[in-house]
Structures are given as structure tokens and as C-alpha cells.
Amino acid sequence: MDSALIPKGVKRCPFPQFILFIAIVGAVLLWGVYAMLLCWFKGLNQTNMNDFYGFALWIWADLAVIAVGGGAFFTGLLRYIFGKDELKNIINYAVLIGFICYSSALLILAIDIGQPLRGWFIFWHANVHSMLTEVAFCLSCYFGVLTIEYIPLILENRQINKVPFFHHLGHNMHEIMAVFAATGAFLSFFHQGSLGGVAGVLYGRPFAYREGLFIWPWTFFLFTWSAAACGPCFTILITKITETVTRKKLVKDNAIELLAKISGWMILTYSIAKTADTWHWATVTVPSLGQTLMDFYSNNPFYGIWILILEIAICGFIPAFILITQKGRKNSAALWIAVFLAVTGVCINRWVMVLQIMAIPVLTFENWVMYLPSWQEVATTILPVAYGVILVAFSYRYLPVFPNEPELNPIETLPPEKEKAVEPSVELEKELKPAEA
């Protein structure tokens, strides 16, 4: 039914099966949209946030998707700036995942603010001293860059590519993609960092506060570093999940292994830096403010020292050691575990730097305050996941996301009469090559 839209040389599931899948995920999406509309029309009283939890599940989701979406900028940097050619086979998917993550982040922010119609104030009345202003500017600009990086892939759809203008536009965009990759890396460095700065500058909150370099607290650098380290793991994880769902090998091992190796070394160095930062904070910063490390990990029903161990040791050093060894990278199960742990680790870090900060009392006569999100918050957080799955499904079906796919999954030749039926009508079609967005 939609075979004219499907890239040449690849096989896709029957159209009804595809529609059924989209309908199921679409139902989840609609649930999220309903919750989103409730929040917009009835206000943030639909959430379980309160005056102790000005930041809650959404801000965590925001920080988490941006961190794991870091795979796009870091893979782009490696591919276009450092010339790691093997990564051309995974860069499309990294860009797509990044696009989904960043558009999700912007959507969540639009739901999270109390006066959504005034969202533009952050640009118009910008306070240049606020880390959040830097986040807003860089995030929006980088989303623009990701859109520019995603467009050439869309233009490679079989039918769109038949239009000469779009064909040439896509080709020319490919030519200058290094410029956008560099711009994206620059912007990402700053907004990933400023998201870390959002917490680090809170000098009224000893759990969050960090000293640093000039105006940047150490969290600024740690957030950028962790996103660059764990973002590619998320790209690998989603690629592996896609391969499992489609029951196909989509990316050659050399691309995955190279990305895993670089990611492993990044995670290892990040984990060392994070340990040093935690050590200095716990032994110098916190005592100077009259508190001890265990003040932040005791006298409450949830946040124990286990969360620190889980974040740094189990989800930091363990995946790092797996990924830096060739044996670990080549072992499928170990690779799965490593990328899963790395992604979990960065998500825990973002959770701690948002939710735990809010939970901890600073005044001596206040107590820990716990929080459970409302169903509206959960639904609106799942909404981007459903949207992401749908966008991946459409992109996978209609766009040449994985350049290696035809080679890795050769299909039997069609009978002559059927082959004729799908013969391209325009000469341009013959020039089609796998995408290298």
C-alpha cells in the first residue's frame, strides 16, 4: 500500500501491522495529550508539585532527555570534526534520537511553566546572569540545528527525492553538514553545561552548590561531560532496541564498537571527575556550611547513600570498565548491560540534581519533604516517549535511516513484472545512495 514510499532495497512489515502498532502507541500519546491539555487549561494544580517542589518530575525528564540526547552532538562532533568515518552509519539515527529528545524537552518546558503564553519572556526580557536563560537560548538554537540535520534525511524519502529541488537541497545540505555539526557541538557544550549550572549556582542549597571556574560551577562541566559520555550509550541502546524489535542487524559492529569505546573512556574520566567533585564537596564545601555528607542521605524514607553508590560506582565505573575493554564491547550481553547502566546513571544524576535538592531541608527547623508525581505528570512525561516511538517508526519505515541496512539484510530479488512496477520514473532515483546526514 505504501511501498512507493519505502526506501529501495529494504523490507518493511505489512502496512496494516504498521498502522496497528502506530494506533497502540498513538493511544498512549493521546493519553499524554489529554493530560497536557488538562495542565494547560486547568493549571499546574493538576500536578503534585508544591511550594517545596517547584522543580519535579518534568524538570528531571527535561534534564534526562537532554543528557541522553547528547549522543547527537557528540557523535556529530566525532564524525564531522574528528573524522571518525565509521560513525557515518549511525549518525542519522543519532540525529533522529537527538531531534526527538530536544523537541520533547521543549514540549515538556512548555507544559511546565505556569504561564505558557508568556514563555517568550525568557528571550525578550532575558536575564543574562541566569543559567536558565542560557539554557533557553542554546536549547532553542540547537533544536534548530538538529532540525537542519534531520531535514536532509527526510528529503531522501523516495518520493520527495524525485523532486529536483529537494534532491539538490538535500545534497547541498549534506555538503555543509560539518558546519552545523560544529555549531551543534558548540551550542550543546553550553546548554548541557548551563543545565548543570542551573543546580550548581544555587548557593542557598548546599546539596546543589558547587564552586567552580569563573562564573561556571563544576556541575557545568560535569553535565556536559556526562552528556557527551552517556549520550552515545543511549544512541547505542536505542539502536539495539530497534534491532531487537525489527529483528534485523541495522548498524555494522565497527560503528557500534567505536562509539562504545569512546563512550567508555568518556564515562571513565567522567566518573573519576565526578568522584573528585563529590569528595571535595563532601569534605570541604559541605562542612564549611555546617553540614555533613550524611545529612543529605539520612533521616528520610528514600534518599540513602545507596543512591550515590548506584550513580557513581554501579552506573559509572562498571559500564566504563566494560566499554573500554575490547572483550566487553564485543560481548553482546555485556554491551547491553553497560549501555543500560550508563543511561541509568546519567538519569539518576539528573534526578538527584533536581528532586533530591528539593527534598532536603536547609532550615534547621524544617523536614525532608517527599513527592510522588500525579498521573497527569506521569502521562505528560510518557507523552514524549510515545511521540519518539512514532517518529522513529515513521522514519525507519520511510527514510533511509540506516545506510548499512540493505547490505546487512539483503532481500530476494523480485519477479521481473513486480520489479517493473516499482521501477523509478525519474532518472534521479538511480543516483540514490544511502543517507549520510
Binding site: L44, M49, D112, I122, L202, Y203, V362, L363, F365
Partner: protein
């Protein structure tokens, strides 16, 4: 005309005098059109620009002691003028520090409700309007025309009754004066306190009671030099303009975090 020294309005609360009656809270809500709901039992959703905390020394009877601690916005100055925890983080300049008065303002029509300021405030002095204000029938006639009610989705907080400052300035201007007398600008909570526990005035003016009571040290960001005076969370470097006085050691110690072996030493200020 010769420029006068900038004002630094602040508050001194004598905790030995406070009885915890809550008059300051009531006066504040009435004065500033602070919205409320039918059910205010969930205190993490209640808007209380002025909130009275009950502190105990944690000792069993007969050594139990309690203290009531009224907590308005601290109008922090930070380590340099205007570097309040909240003002420095607001992305849209919806909260601002007045170098003329030292008051931290909140611009409701500018605020877009990101709540970063709430996250930054260690005193929990900032409140979000989770609902639109709904007044009981007829009550809107009792609202103050000098204070704009806030809409859903924005943050609000104590303004040191700034509208009173504006009214006093207007009156003084009409009378051909530039300077306000001490009693011309007083907050609602100050006037409502039956025990006279709250004193308000210009901390920069040696003739004002607040200055005489705490003797702020300008070399150390206004840290009080009076032995019984303290500020909440002094060590964080927020540099608040609300001071407390208590003759009881445990109350003063409750004002900040201390390591077990640490004495309550003012010299240990981190950011000083």
C-alpha cells in the same frame, strides 16, 4: 541635589517577645490580598508570605522550651548588591533587587512561572499560585486597591509592603520632602504585632531602631554585632535583611547549621 545614602530596609524580630499569635500572618494576608482556598490544611500548598514556625529545643519535660519564629521574605542582598539567590537566577528579570531600598520585588506580570526562584530560596519564602485566586462572595470589596492580586501560574512573596513605601513617598513628595520619617513606612506585620516583636526600618540609618538593635557590620555584609542577634542561614552568604534576636542559645543555634563540635561562632561565616 546631593544624593542621600541608599536605604536598606530591614526587619528585626525579637523572638523572646513573639507569642506565636499569628497576627502578623493575618495582617499580611489582608494587606497584600494573599489568596487562600477553602481547605488550607496542606501547608506545602498554602501561600503565607509571613509564616510563623514553631521551634522546640527537643528536650523532654520539664526542660522543654519552644520558640515561635515569624519568617517573611529575607530580601537577601547576596555577596554583592543584588546577588540574591532568587534575583540572580530568574531568567526573565521578574524579580529584582532595588539598590534604592534593598527590597527584592516580584513583578507578577513579568513572571512566567518557571519556579527557578523557588528552587533557589533556602527559606521557602516564595510561593506559586497553583490556582487562580477565588474570593468568598463579597470579599473582593475588602481587597486592598494598592496591591494587585496575582493570577494562576506566577510566583509571589513578601514585598515588605512596598506599596506602603510608594504611598509614603508620594505623601512626602506632596509635602515637599525627600526623606521619609521612620514611622512613615512600616509593614503591616510590624504594626499588627501585639507584642511589639517586629521592628522595621532603614538598616543604613543609625537613628533607626533596627540599626540600634542589631548594629549591622558593614564590613561583613551587615552581619549583626549584637551578641543576641542572628540571621537565618548566615553561613550560606545570602546576606538577609531580616534579623532575629533571642537571649536563648538554642534558638540562636537553630538559626543555622553547625557541625556537632562547632560552637555557634560568627567567625565561621563561609562567604565572608
Amino acid at each position: 541635589m546631593k544624593q542621600k545614602k541608599a536605604k536598606k530596609y530591614g526587619m528585626v524580630i525579637d523572638l523572646d517577645k513573639c507569642t506565636g499569635c499569628g497576627s502578623c500572618m493575618v495582617a499580611c494576608m489582608a494587606e497584600n490580598n494573599v489568596p487562600f482556598r477553602k481547605d488550607e490544611s496542606n501547608k506545602v500548598l498554602s501561600i503565607t508570605w509571613m509564616r510563623v514556625y514553631k521551634l522546640t529545643n527537643g528536650k523532654p519535660f520539664p526542660n522543654t522550651d519552644i520558640c515561635y519564629l515569624p519568617r517573611p521574605c529575607m530580601h537577601c542582598e547576596g555577596q554583592h548588591e543584588g546577588h540574591s539567590p532568587c534575583v540572580s537566577v530568574c531568567p526573565a528579570i521578574a524579580t529584582d533587587y532595588s539598590s534604592e531600598t534593598g527590597v527584592v520585588s516580584q513583578i507578577y506580570t513579568r513572571c512566567f512561572g518557571c519556579r527557578y526562584c523557588m528552587a533557589s530560596c533556602p527559606y521557602h519564602a516564595r510561593y506559586f499560585n497553583w490556582w487562580d485566586p477565588v474570593w468568598p462572595d463579597g470579599m473582593e470589596k475588602y481587597l486592598s486597591p494598592n496591591v494587585s492580586p496575582r493570577m494562576r501560574g506566577v510566583v509571589e512573596k513578601c514585598s515588605f509592603c512596598f506599596h506602603r513605601y510608594q504611598l509614603a513617598k508620594e505623601k512626602a513628595f506632596m509635602e515637599g520632602r525627600r526623606e521619609l520619617k521612620e514611622d512613615e513606612y512600616q509593614t503591616a506585620c510590624t504594626q499588627a504585632c501585639p507584642a511589639g516583636a517586629i521592628t522595621f526600618g532603614d538598616l543604613n540609618n543609625p537613628n533607626h531602631a533596627v540599626h540600634r538593635m542589631v548594629k549591622p557590620d558593614p564590613k561583613h555584609h551587615g552581619r549583626p554585632t549584637h551578641p543576641n542577634a542572628f540571621r537565618l542561614l548566615e553561613r550560606l552568604g545570602t546576606n538577609p535583611k531580616v534579623y532575629y534576636i533571642s537571649s536563648r542559645d538554642w534558638v540562636r543555634r537553630a538559626g543555622d547549621n553547625y557541625l556537632e563540635h562547632e560552637a555557634e561562632l560568627k567567625q565561621t561565616v563561609h562567604h565572608g
